[in-house]
Subunit: 499 residues, 2 copies
Amino acid sequence: MSRDKSGEAKQRHPHAGTPKGFRDYFGTEVTERKTMLDKVAEVYHRYGFDPLETSAIETVEALGKFLPDVERPNEGMFAWQNEDTDWLALRYDLTAPLARVAAQYRNDLPSPYRRYAMGPVWRNEKPGPGRFRQFYQCDADTVGAPSIAADAEICAMLSDALETVGIQRGEYLVRMNNRKVLNGVMEMAGVLDPSEPSRYDVERGIVLRAIDKIDRLGEGGVRALLGEGRRDESGDFTKGAGLSPDQAEVVISFMAARRDTETKTLTALRDLVGASIIGAKGIAELETIAELLDHQGYGADRIVIDPGVVRGLGYYTGPVFEAELTFEILDEKGRKRQFGSVAGGGRYDDLVKRFTGQSVPSTGVSIGVDRLLAALQTKKRAGSAIAGPIVVTVMDRDRMADYMSMVAELRNTGLRAEVYLGNPKNFGNQLKYADKRGSPVAIIQGENEAKKGVVILKDLILGAQIAENATLEEWKDRPAQVEVPRADLVAAVRKMLVQ
Amino acid sequence: MSRDKSGEAKQRHPHAGTPKGFRDYFGTEVTERKTMLDKVAEVYHRYGFDPLETSAIETVEALGKFLPDVERPNEGMFAWQNEDTDWLALRYDLTAPLARVAAQYRNDLPSPYRRYAMGPVWRNEKPGPGRFRQFYQCDADTVGAPSIAADAEICAMLSDALETVGIQRGEYLVRMNNRKVLNGVMEMAGVLDPSEPSRYDVERGIVLRAIDKIDRLGEGGVRALLGEGRRDESGDFTKGAGLSPDQAEVVISFMAARRDTETKTLTALRDLVGASIIGAKGIAELETIAELLDHQGYGADRIVIDPGVVRGLGYYTGPVFEAELTFEILDEKGRKRQFGSVAGGGRYDDLVKRFTGQSVPSTGVSIGVDRLLAALQTKKRAGSAIAGPIVVTVMDRDRMADYMSMVAELRNTGLRAEVYLGNPKNFGNQLKYADKRGSPVAIIQGENEAKKGVVILKDLILGAQIAENATLEEWKDRPAQVEVPRADLVAAVRKMLVQ
């Protein structure tokens, strides 16, 4: 209890706010996302994927972060111990629950199992500008499909999904790489010995982390990390992989191996790692995917082989893909830059193995829902902005039944309409309300109008235009306010709406 | 680590299962619910309600369960202390987050604020058969509307929503009661003194809990609780409100005051509590709502005054309503019973007061999503069962590009189609897969067919019928398998689908 200046006891009220890193979505923010996800779901459906909705809560054990010795499990999750027994957690992605489902229902699900999932995930991470601790993911995966055709299908589907939500052909590119080619690179660079796979584990880890940082550190930074190591601006030193300049050159050349045609890119890759069995296999996979896609009409204007795609190469086991939007936007400092990545995925063959001990080859894609929606909003293609309702004002409190009947009539013909339900005393407040609601038309019927059997329709869109910038000429041609017989209400409103 | 019989170290795998009380939703289970909620949203939208999506996580403080002295907050929530500072929790309904939003954005939101919300909520309660710890709610509320017209609007909207999702007129009834009438009953029964409102607090609490148990205990049980008390089967004694038989009779008569017409019901209520100011006000409110609704065409065949609605009377402050489905279903023991309640709501005027100190009159409704969906499924009106995809089988692994092109052609005309992505060696497995997928048509093209430039279409629906019960006559008229030119693939599939 605190006391205010008057000395009276002042009750402490709870704080009305979301927890840090969470936010609310209002009106159009909800419907625009829903419209986009509905369109994506329609594409996934056509490709034979079935929806799956798992619960938000999983056991920590199933999510794959084992109960540690310490009191608190992995910091990246929201986790808690329930009823002093199970550790529970909110899912941090949609893949971990899929792995659990694929294991739990392995005797009942069709195999291969194509499923899509859409919904929020939670990360117990430090929030930042535009980075929230709850956000949507939208995934499609094929579980139990060893065929590289499954990867090709995912790429085609991703391309279709982007075009269906409103990204035009030429505005995006699905770029493919392959972890196996990288393994070939490792072999050629002397940090992978096929006869002794676990040797150079540490070095390979450093190489993986180094190439993942190419966007941030540039080629020079990566070279340093591939070699002796790198000292950053703060003076901290990161130990490198210890590769010689020649060895490092193999890795750098790999990332820069994209040429202007698929054939040339494949040749460049073969020159680099063709001598490695695993590398050659990876190149053959990329070639097959490109052929399969080409045959269906998905050419290099949509899906390309690009060894520069390095994100996620450490996680995936085969083909990796990333969808980038290629148009430019202005960043927060007003500089032009490419919009960048909106989706990514790849093959991960050990998804279910944790549960069953058996390898289940799988591949999938995850669309960054908020990023893609932001892109559509930038291009003004998000659609489904919520239209404001027609507002029937209340001039005479005792005639509420009449006003509600007007609203019911309008609604019954499919129009969005509401009666003003606040205190009707101040008519100005009613018009302010209609304005805040984005209402296109307000309907007014006072005592006089009721006696005459008429209603007044106020064109609020035109009214706003006149107030802002319309000329007197326009005003004369189209009255911002008309009086019509009560019986013509619906027809007159419809007429005003299409003007 | 445990050791199996062979004595080898056997790795312990994590258990592949949801936490207790949670479940997964597959395919049609997801789309049926989505279809239903989309239809409800369309109705809410037409009534001028805007969507709101809050995050799943709120502070415990905002949810209204204050941090207790003990280590663990309210058991009914999933709550945990994050980073040793805030107590966070998963929302247990959609009303508490609305209260927080209404307080947080009170200067920005239109007033009245009509919003709807749909999504999962979580309860840390003992799960039971059909009772899960995550389930959907679907709410619509009007915040900041003192007018009783707001309650009438909610009732009309609920009626429209039920009919729109597929409950036919005559199969449901929205029943209304009013907490104020109950307060009048309390007054007449001598447990409410308007000049000293806090007196008899304990007795009124017992009365409220007693009438809430009418379904379970019957009139006799409630009478006992209104009087001296009740001993249950186990021998436990629950203290009663101490009302005399005459006082108790007032309460019992109230619950049984529904007559065959609205007018008679209102007369019966006036006879009971007309002498109480608050009681008379409650009756007038019910009468006004009924009039407003009648004027819009919502008669007693859809919305009725029924003092027998007692659920939630302790929580709400004014009108209370409940939607019941009136058709019969068979319970688990094969006995006929009414389907019962699928939605409920009412007026609660102190929603936002906790946060701001100011009373904000509000009213709303919550649809029990799982109950309503179950009703639609019972009536076979849930719709949106997912149709199985056309399956293109793989006879020749090297010709995957051809099979994928067939699939792409089918999909490009809007059909749902997929290529078999499992190991193609065993053709029987491919047909089993198609069967499991509910596929209507399988497409086959082996080496011979490819040379001849044809494909074989297998009608799997007819095939299943023949296997089950079709006569030879039907078989002759309509072949379960046809060979068509490759160029006619799409047309032939479409023809087979409409048969």
